[in-house]
Symmetry: none
DNA sequence: CATGAATGAGTATTCATTCAT
DNA sequence: CATGAATGAATACTCATTCAT
C-alpha cells in the first residue's frame, strides 16, 4: 500500500475549455459550473444555506472544493447565482411572450399552467426559490429582480381588476392567495414525492380562478 | 371533539419550568425559559436554524450562553421545544372546541378566522412553523404531532366532501390550496410588516370559500 | 517467535499518511502527522489527556488547530493512535525476534536491556504508556493490544517457572514486581531529568534477576 | 523517631473542620467535608483531575455544588487537601514509631508490611498518590511534603547501605526499584479488583529483600 | 450554613476559504 | 485550470465558580 489515496483520475483529462465560451463547445467548460449549480441547488433545498457545507457541494458535484471558488467568489455568490438563474428561467417560462392583450381568463390559465409546467419540470428549483425568498444573503441584484417580478405580476392583477375581471381588494392579497395556493399545491405533492396529475392541475386552476374572479 | 390533541405529548421531555419556586414569585423561575424560547423563535425565523448562533440567542434573551443548556439539552432540543410549543398553541386556538356538527360553511369560517387570529397575534410563530416543517432536526415526536394535525384537518375536509359541501378532488389538493393561500396572505403582510385589516381577512375568507365550495 | 504482534491491527482505523505524495518528497506529507503525534505525546505526558487542549497540541506541533482533524477523527482518536504507535514500537523493540529457546537468564537479560534501551531512547513514550494504561478513553483495539502483550509476557514467565528457573508464585505477582521495578527505575531518572548510566542499568538488571530467580 | 512528619505545616491553609461542634454532634459538621474528600478521591482516581467535574463530585458526595466551596477554596485546593491528607495518613501508618534501631532486615519487613497494610485498607488512596505525583496543580506545600518523605526513605536506605546491609549503588535506584515493585504489586491486584493474599504479600517482601540485600 | 441556578471563559470541533502543487 | 491539504475564525457545548435565596 504505497499510495493509499490514489489521485482520483477524473475520467476526462480534458483540457479546460474556459467556462466563458461564446459559442460552440458550451458543454465541456460549462460542465463543472453546471454540476456545481445543480449539486448546490439540491443541497440547499434539502439542508438550507447554512446547513450545507461547501465541501459537501464539491463532493456531490464531483469536483474539488477549491474548484467551486474558480466559478464563484464565495458560497454567498453561489447561492445568489442559483437564485438568479432559477428566477430568470422561471420568468422566461412564465412570462416570456405573455399574452398581454388576451382576456383575463386566458391570461390566468396561461400563467397558471406555465407555472405548473415549470414546477413539474424543476420542483427543486421551485422550492428553492420559495425558501430563499428574502434571505439576508440575497444580494441587491436579486432583491431587485424579485421586486421586478412582483411588479410584473402586480401589474397584471391591477390591470385585470381595472377591467372588472377580478375581485376588488388589495392586489397583494389576491396575489398572495394565488401564489400561496400554488405553492401549497406544489408542496402537497413534493411532500409525498409524487407529481400531480394533469387533471389535478386543471382542477386547481379552475378552483383558483373561481376564487379570484369578480 | 373537545380536545383534539390530548396533552399526552411527552410532558416529561422538557423540564418544563425546572427552577423550583418556593411559592410567591412564580414568575422569576419560568421567565428565563420563556425569554429563551421567545428570542430563539424570533432569530430562527429571521436567520434559520443553522444561521442562528446559540450565543446570539442568549444575548437576545438576556441570559448567559450556558443558561440555555440548563433548560434545553441542545440547540436541536430548543428548536423542537419551540416547534412543539407553537404547534400545540396553534392546535389549541384553531381546533379547541371545534364545532364538529356545525354546517361546513360555518366550520370553514370558524377555522379560517381562528387561524387568522392566531397568525395576527403570533405572526412569527406562524412563519416559524412554516419554515421548520419537515426539517431534518425535528424529532420523532414533532413529526408525529405534525402528522396528527394533518390528519385532523384532512378528516374535516373528507367529511365535508362526503356531505357534498366541498368540491370533489384529492383532499390533499384542497388542503394545500387553502393552507397555501392562508400562508400566502400571511406572508403578503409580514413582508411589509403591516397586519391585515379585519375586512381583508374576511375578504380572503370569502374568496377561499368560493374557491373550494361545491 | 519473530513477529509477536502481527500488523493486523486495523490499519484502516487511521488514515496512516493520508496526504498523497507524488513520489519524491515523501517526507512533507507524513511530517505533519508525526509532528502532531510527537507534540501530543509530550503534552499528554506533562499535563494528562484532559489537561491538554487541542490548540496547545497544534501550537506545539506548529500546525493549525483544524489540521489535527485531517489526521485524527478526534482528540480521543489521537490519544489512541499514540498509544497504539508506542505500544507497537515497544513490542517491536522488546519482543521482536525474541530468543524463545535461550536460557531464562539470557531471556531475562535480553528483555530487560531491550526495555532499557527503549526507555532510554523514548522516555516520554514509556511514561505515556504507563499513565494511559486503563484509561476510559482507550478504545477496544488498544485494550486488546494491551491484553495481548500482557499475555506474551505472562507466557514467558509461566514457561520459565515451569522450567524451574523462576520462583514459584502467581505470575501476575512476579510480572508486577519486575515491570513495576522497571518503571520505578525509569521514574527515578526521569524525575531528575537525567538518564541512567549503563552500569546502573546492569546493576538494576542484576538486582531484579536475583529477586525473581528460583 | 516517633513523629517523623511533624504535623501541620500551614495549619491555617485549610479551614480544617470549620463547622463548630462543641463535642457530641461531631458528625454532622465534619461529615460533609469527609464526604467531599471521599467522593473526590474516588473520582480523581477513576477519571483524573481534569476529567472530573466539580458538580460530579458534589453529586457523589451528596451535597450541593456550592457547598464544596465552603470547605475548599477551589478544585485545586481540594485535590491538594486530599493529597496532603492521604500522604500524612500514609506517613503515619508507614513511618509512625519507626524502629530506627532495629536491624535492617526487620526495618525492611516492617516498612513493607505497613505499606501493604495501608494499600490494602486504602487501595484508592494509594493509586491516587501515585497518579498525582508531580502534577502541576500540587501546591508548594505538597511538593515539600513529598520531598520530605523521599528524604526520610532515602535516609533509611543510606544508613542501611552504610551498615553494609544493602547493595551499594545509587540510593535513588534502590528506592525506585523497591517502591516501583510495590506499586507494581498493588496494580497487579487492583487491575483484577481482588486483594492480594497475605501469603503473597510475604512472598513479595521476601523477593524484594533478596533483590536489595547486600 | 447549604444550595443550585446562573454565568462566561474555555474546550473540542467544523467549515469557508486559500494556495502550493 | 483543478485540486485538496491547510488554516483559523466561529460554533456548540462544558464547567469551575459565584451568589441570591
Amino acid at each position: 500500500m504505497t499510495n493509499p489515496l490514489p489521485p482520483k483520475t477524473t475520467a476526462a483529462a480534458e483540457p479546460a475549455a474556459r467556462p466563458s465560451q461564446a459559442s460552440i463547445v458550451k458543454k465541456v467548460g460549462g460542465d463543472k459550473r453546471e454540476q456545481i449549480l445543480d449539486a448546490a441547488l439540491e443541497l440547499f433545498v434539502e439542508r438550507g444555506f447554512y446547513g450545507t457545507a461547501v465541501p459537501e457541494i464539491a463532493d456531490k458535484a464531483g469536483v474539488g472544493a477549491g474548484t467551486i471558488y474558480r466559478y464563484f467568489d464565495s458560497k454567498e455568490a453561489l447561492v445568489n447565482a442559483i437564485y438568479r438563474q432559477q428566477k430568470m428561467m422561471f420568468a422566461q417560462v412564465a412570462l416570456g411572450d405573455f399574452p398581454a392583450t388576451a382576456p383575463t381568463r386566458e391570461q390566468f390559465r396561461t400563467l397558471w399552467m406555465r407555472m405548473a409546467k415549470f414546477a413539474t419540470l424543476h420542483p427543486k428549483a421551485f422550492v428553492f426559490m420559495e425558501l430563499h425568498h428574502h434571505q439576508r444573503y440575497l444580494d441587491a441584484e436579486n432583491v431587485a429582480l424579485e421586486q421586478r417580478m412582483l411588479d410584473l405580476f402586480s401589474n397584471v392583477v391591477v390591470t385585470a381588476q381595472a377591467r372588472g375581471d377580478l375581485k376588488v381588494g388589495p392586489p397583494r392579497l389576491l396575489m398572495g392567495i394565488v401564489m400561496g395556493a400554488f405553492v401549497g399545491v406544489i408542496r402537497s405533492c413534493v411532500e409525498i414525492d409524487q407529481p400531480l396529475e394533469s387533471a389535478d392541475w386543471k382542477l386547481a386552476e379552475q378552483i383558483l380562478w373561481e376564487a379570484v374572479r369578480a
